[in-house]
Amino acid sequence: MPLRLATRVLIGLALVFGLCAGAGAAAIEPALLAQLTSEDAAEKGEAIDAIAAIGDEAALAVLSALRDGMLKVSGTGQMFIAERGKATDAATGAAVDPVPDDAEKVTINNRLRTRIESAIGALRIFSKDPKERLAAVATLTADEAMLPALDQALASETDPAIKSALQQVRAASQLKSSDAAKRLAAIDVLAESLDAKSKNLLLPLMEKSPAGEFAEPDEQVRQAASAAVAAIERRLAVYDYAGRVFTGLSLGSILLLVALGLAITYGLLGVINMAHGEMLMIGAYATYATQTVFRAYFPAAIDWYVVFALPVAFLVAGGIGILLERSVIRWLYGRPLETLLATWGISLFLIQLVRQLFGAQNVEVSNPTWMSGGITVVNLVLPWNRIVIIGFSMTVLLLVWLMLTRTRLGLFVRGVTQNRTMASCVGVPTGRVDMIAFGLGSGIAGLAGCALSQIGNVGPELGQSYIIDSFMVVVLGGVGQLAGTVYAALGLGVASKFLEPYLGAVPTKILILVLIIAFIQKRPQGLFALKGRSVET
C-alpha cells in the first residue's frame, strides 16, 4: 500500500505540474499505452497511474475509453479509441481510417476499474465544463494524497458552488492528516457545511473505542468537532423547517384551489356539493384528453398542452356544473340535507361514467419538460411543479377575488350570499346568479383538477381523496369570506406538514380533525363569519 500511496501523491503532484506546464502539450508515450495491454495487472495499474499523471484531455479520453471498454488494440499494436464507428488514435488523437477489423478490447478487472474511476475524477476537476467539474468533485473520496491537486483546483476555480464543494473535500481529506492543527483547520471549514455528510465525517472523531480511547487523540480537536457538529445540526434544522414550510404551503395551495370553488357554492347556495371532488376528477381527465389530442395532432407543441388544458378543464367542469344545477340542484334549494344526498348520487354516477369511458385504471398525465426538475436551494430541492401550482393557485385566488369584489356578478353573488330574499326583492336575478356561481365553482374545481393532474395520479377516484380535506377547509374557514378559506387552507397545509414528521400521517389527520372540532366549539361559524342579526332557521 505505501507504494500505492506514493504513486497517488505522485499523481497529485504530476497533475499540478502537468497543468502548470499547459494542458495537451504532450502526446502520450506509445510505450505507456502499450503497457496497458500487458498481461500483468500490476503493470497495467502503473500505466494507468502514469497516464493519469499526464493530466491532459488526451489522458482523460484514454482513461474514459478504457473504463467504458472502448479502448482497442489492433493486430499491428496500434491503440485507438473506437466510438460509434469512428476511431481516433489513442496516442496522437488523429483519426484512424479505415478502422482495423482485427482489433481487440483492452480488458480491465474491477480493482483497476476503481483505480481508473478515481484517476478520472481527479482529472475531471480540471475540466473546462463547470457542470463536469461539479460532478467530478462529488465523486472524489477524501484522501490526503489528493491535497495538492485540490489546492491547485481551488486556486483556479471561479465558480462559488464548485469552490465550496472543493473546500469540503479538501477539509475531509485534511481531517485525515496527522497534524492536529491541520485537523482543526479542517473542522473549521466543515462546520460551515450544510451537508449531513460533513456531520458524518466529524462524528467518528468523538467516538470512543471499547478500550476507552478516543478515536481522536487531541482534546482540543474533539471539542472543536463537537461544536462543529452542533453548528451543522442547527443549520440543517433551519433548512428542514424551511422545507416543511414549503411542502406545507404547497399542500395548502392545493387545498385552497380545491376548496375555493366549494366555498363559493356553499356560501351562495348553502349547499355542500358532494360531487365537487368529481369536478376535480373531470378537470384532470379534461387535461388528459387535451394531452392525448396534442400527442396525436400537435406533437411539436406538447410542452404547452397544460396551458391549453386549463380553459378546457374550466369549461368542461363548469359546463357540467351548470347542467347539474339546472337539472337537479335548483329543485332542492332550501333542503340542504337532501342536496347532500343528491349530489352524492351525482358523484357516484360521474365516477362510474368515467370508469366506463376511460377505464377503471389510472391514466398517465405527464409533466411538460418545463415543469419537471426543480430549484436547488443549498440542500433543499423545490420541485418546479409544486412552485408552479403555488403560483397558479395564487393567480386563481386573485381572479376570484377580483371577480367577487370588482364585477357586477360578484356584487350579485355577495348580495345573494348575505340575504337571498332581499337581493331578490331589489331585482337580482337570483336563479341566474345561482346557475352562474355554481358553474364558476365547478369550473374552478376543474382548474384545480388540471393542477392536481400534474402532481398525482389521475383516476376515477381522484376526487374522493381530496373531498374530506376540502370540506374541512370550508368548515374551518367559514362561509362568505375568501380570507377564511385562504387562512384555513394554508393553515391546515402547513400544520399537517409540521405535525407529520412527529406523529405520522394518519395520527396527524386525526389530530387535525379533533382540533377542528375543538375550534368549532369556540367559533361555530368558522374563522370568519359574516356579521348579521338573522337567526338561522
Binding site: W331, P336, E338, L341, A342, G345, L348, F349, Q352, I517
Partner: protein, 373 residues
C-alpha cells in the same frame, strides 16, 4: 289539560296505544316466520325439497335484517330528529369490531400459526395482546363493549358537537370526517385490529361452531327478534313526550328553545341511542357475514345508510325497513348480474328519490291512500 285532551285533534303524548291490532298481527307474523318457519325450512326440510331454504338465503336475509336495524336507528336521528349523520357506519363497525375481538379470541390455537394470538398479531411479531384486548375472551365483556364502544364515542362526539350547536350540513360533514378518520386509524396495522384485512376466519361462538347450520339459524332468529325490538323501541320513544320534543327539534329548534327546552340533552340522548342500536346490529352482522374490516367505515357506506332511509321514507316507522330491504335486495341482484351498472343505479336512486320521492316509498303510498280516501 282536560280541555286539550278532549280536543279531537290532540292526543296527550304517550296515551295512544303503542300499535293498533293490525300492526301487532304483522309483528307476530314476522316473528313466527323468522323464528319458526325459516329455521325449520332451513334445518329440517331436506335440501332436495323445493321448500328448503339455502344457507345463502339465510345469510343474505340475516345480513339485510342487520341493515334494517341500522336503518331504524338512522331513522331515529334523521327521520324524527332531523339530524343527518353521515357517519353511522363507524358505530356499526365499532360494534362489529368489539364482538369481532371476542370471536378472534375464540379461534384459540386453530389459527394458521397455532398461536393464542390472532394471526395478524403473530405477523406483526407481537408477543401479547395489547391492553385494550384484555378480558375480551369473556362473552359478557364483549357484549358490554359492543354497547360501550359506539355509545361512548357517540356521547363524547355528540356532546361537543351539539353543545356548540353544530347542525345541518356542518354536522353531517363533521360526522363524515369522523368515520373517515376512524377508517384511516383502523387501516393501520399498528392499531391492533388487523389493518386492512380486519377480522375474519372465525371458528366458534360460545363453544358452538360458527359454520354449523344450527348456529346460523340461531343468529338469524336473534337478528329478527332484535330488529322487532328496535322497531317497538323506536315507536315507543317517538310516541312518548321525549319523542315529541325530538320531532319539535326537527321542525323548529329555535321555537323549541324559546319554549324553554334545552335541546342538547334530547339530541345527545337520541344520538347515543341510535349509535348503540347500530353497534348491536354490527355485532349481529359480523358472525353471520364472517368478516369485519375498515371498509365498513368508509364514507360511502355511511351515506348509503342515509339513502336506505330516504328511499323507504323518513319519519315513518316502516320506511327504514322497506328502504334497507329494497336497496340491499337490488344491490345483491345488481352486483351479481350487472356489477358495472350498480353505481349508476345507486347514483340515480339518490338523485331520483330526493327529487321525486321526498317522503320515500312509504310516504308515497300513504299519500296515494289519502288521496283515494
Amino acid at each position: 289539560m282536560n280541555t286539550l285532551a278532549t280536543n279531537p285533534g290532540f292526543t296527550i303524548p304517550g296515551s295512544e296505544p303503542l300499535f293498533d291490532g293490525r300492526a301487532w298481527t304483522a309483528i307476530a307474523a314476522f316473528l313466527i316466520a323468522t323464528l319458526v318457519v325459516v329455521p325449520v325450512l332451513f334445518l329440517v326440510v331436506p335440501a332436495s325439497s323445493s321448500f328448503h331454504v339455502s344457507a345463502y338465503f339465510v345469510t343474505l336475509v340475516g345480513k339485510i335484517m342487520c341493515y334494517c336495524a341500522v336503518a331504524v336507528a338512522m331513522n331515529l336521528i334523521w327521520g324524527y330528529t332531523g339530524i343527518l349523520s353521515l357517519g353511522h357506519g363507524v358505530f356499526f363497525a365499532l360494534g362489529g369490531y368489539a364482538f369481532g375481538m371476542y370471536l378472534m379470541r375464540m379461534i384459540g390455537r386453530e389459527g394458521q400459526y397455532q398461536s393464542l394470538l390472532p394471526d395478524f398479531m403473530v405477523f406483526l411479531d407481537w408477543k401479547a395482546y395489547p391492553w385494550y384486548w384484555s378480558f375480551t375472551d369473556h362473552f359478557w365483556v364483549a357484549m358490554v363493549l359492543v354497547v360501550l364502544a359506539p355509545g361512548l364515542l357517540a356521547f363524547v362526539f355528540g356532546f361537543f358537537a351539539f353543545r356548540s350547536r353544530i347542525k345541518g350540513v356542518y354536522f353531517s360533514i363533521i360526522t363524515q370526517a369522523l368515520t373517515f378518520a376512524f377508517m384511516l386509524l383502523f387501516f393501520r396495522n399498528d392499531t391492533g385490529f388487523g389493518g386492512n384485512n380486519g377480522f375474519t376466519d372465525f371458528k366458534r361462538i360460545l363453544g358452538y361452531r360458527i359454520a354449523d347450520p344450527h348456529t346460523r339459524a340461531a343468529l338469524f332468529a336473534l337478528t329478527a327478534a332484535y330488529l322487532m325490538a328496535c322497531l317497538v323501541l323506536s315507536r315507543a320513544l317517538i310516541r312518548s313526550k321525549t319523542g315529541r320534543v325530538l320531532t319539535a327539534i326537527r321542525d323548529s329548534e329555535n321555537r323549541l328553545m324559546f319554549s324553554g327546552y334545552n335541546p342538547l340533552w334530547y339530541k345527545l340522548f337520541v344520538w347515543t341511542l341510535s349509535a348503540v342500536l347500530c353497534g348491536i346490529a354490527g355485532a349481529l352482522y359480523v358472525p353471520q357475514v364472517g368478516i369485519i374490516n375498515p371498509g365498513e367505515m368508509s364514507a360511502a357506506n355511511s351515506i348509503e345508510i342515509a339513502v336506505w332511509v330516504a328511499v323507504g321514507g323518513r319519519g315513518t316507522l316502516l320506511g327504514p325497513l322497506v328502504g334497507a330491504s329494497l336497496v340491499n335486495g337490488a344491490k345483491s341482484y345488481f352486483t351479481q348480474s350487472f356489477p358495472e351498472y350498480w353505481l349508476f343505479f345507486l347514483g340515480l336512486l339518490f338523485i331520483l328519490v330526493t327529487l321525486f320521492l321526498p317522503k320515500g316509498v312509504v310516504g308515497w303510498f300513504r299519500e296515494k291512500r289519502k288521496a283515494a280516501a
